[in-house]
């Protein structure tokens, strides 16, 4: 088939339009948040002292960092799903959450006496954290990879990893409401490991699912 002939066929097929990518991402985000919320409330639910905890800085800080991560990852993921888009700026925004968390860790180390570091670092919930952040995040990750498949990622492994970061950030935002370990030391270590596992999974699955 010659190229001119191919163009005949493409031209005749031009009336069919797919869902716009912007809309796809909005729908995907809503579905993913809903899925994470359902799994969270079925399996865990918020901690009993949620109302009192909501007055403490450390507890609220977890939501701030995780939402920062999720929103930056969402912006970068959308850029990665469009060929030729500028990803430098959205990629730079992704540094904000780890940077803020790093500052919080430094402050925590100053404020808390060193003999308590180990206790707040290990907390009480490591295995729950390492289990449930990935468990809550798995459905969102699936949703984001499918949305990515509708897009056209030219770096599918990177895009998959960022989809994992987004799923992890979203999942950890819910999980934070259950978790009673509020120290930035705990968050920086165990939340990060749990989220990284989703990013790794996304990196492996991205090129397989979002192939085009």
């Amino acid at each position: 088939m010659q190229t001119e002939e191919l163009i005949n066929a493409l031209k005749a097929d031009s009336a069919r339009q797919s869902m716009s990518l912007g809309r796809t991402w909005r729908v995907a985000l809503a579905c993913a948040a809903l899925a994470a919320a359902v799994v969270f409330y079925i399996l865990l639910g918020p901690r009993p002292d949620f109302a009192t905890a909501a007055h403490t800085v450390r507890f609220m800080f977890k939501f701030v960092v995780m939402l920062m991560l999720a929103s930056a990852a969402f912006g970068l993921l959308r850029a990665l799903s469009r060929p030729g888009s500028n990803i430098a700026l959205p990629a730079l925004r992704l540094i904000a959450a780890p940077a803020v968390l790093g500052v919080a860790v430094a402050v925590e180390l100053v404020v808390v006496p060193s003999d308590q570091w180990r206790a707040i670092w290990w907390g009480t919930n490591i295995s729950v954290c390492l289990t449930f952040i990935p468990v809550i995040g798995i459905a969102p990750l699936a949703v984001f990879l499918l949305a990515l498949r509708h897009g056209a990622p030219t770096r599918p492994a990177v895009a998959g990893a960022v989809a994992g970061l987004l799923a992890g950030g979203l999942s950890a935002t819910f999980y934070a409401a259950h978790c009673t370990d509020d120290s930035p030391l705990f968050v920086a270590t165990w939340y990060s490991i749990a989220i990284a596992s989703l990013a790794f999974l996304g990196m492996i699955l991205g090129p397989r699912i979002a192939r085009w």
């Binding site: 190229t3 493409l10 799903s81 469009r82 030219t154």
Partner: protein, 178 residues
């Protein structure tokens, strides 16, 4: 010159998305010439036919045209897709290829004409289900319209559109897969 290209291609693609088939054909023809120049420049040793890259890129542009935003520049979008398809073609043939992003500007001006040879896409076309293959062939190679094809095979126009759409999708998918 590339600024001119950019403006005209953006206008054509916008018109195409609004439903103008002629504008779409013009957009694809000009895009093909630009991608051809790009592919010929990048493929220095043999093994990959530049025209295969042109056709795979056009198919990808077609199936992924919803990833272009109206206000975004068209040429970077086209080149990102072409580069992706070129790297993919080398990867499938077990080769590595280094493609520099910085060289885009110089390739823009060089639009080139097609040379005739056997195409991958023809082989993929042969692998389609018979119904889809005859519809795709009637419209592409024989140059029939949707209506003429419907009359020729005693199908409804909707059925022809569906068969064409599915056929093109499965061709695009095969290029992505193997």
């Amino acid at each position: 010159m590339s600024g001119q290209d950019e403006k005209e291609l953006a206008m054509l693609l916008q018109a195409a998305i609004a439903g103008d088939e002629k504008a779409y054909a013009a957009f694809l023809t000009r895009t093909a010439a630009i991608v051809r120049g790009f592919a010929r420049r990048k493929i220095v040793q043999g093994g990959v036919d530049p025209e295969d890259i042109v056709q795979e890129t056009l198919l990808a542009i077609h199936t992924k045209r919803h990833t272009w935003i109206v206000d975004a520049p068209v040429l970077p979008w086209i080149f990102a897709i072409a580069r992706f398809k070129l790297i993919d073609a080398f990867r499938k043939r077990g080769r590595r290829v280094e493609i520099e992003i910085g060289e885009l500007a110089e390739t823009l001006a060089q639009a080139e004409a097609e040379t005739v040879s056997d195409r991958e896409i023809g082989r993929v076309l042969d692998g389609l289900a018979p119904g889809q293959r005859s519809v795709v062939a009637a419209i592409s190679i024989e140059g029939h319209s949707i209506g003429e094809t419907a009359a020729k095979y005693g199908m409804t126009e909707t059925a022809v559109r569906v068969a064409l759409h599915r056929g093109l999708r499965s061709i695009a998918k095969k290029f992505g897969r193997c």
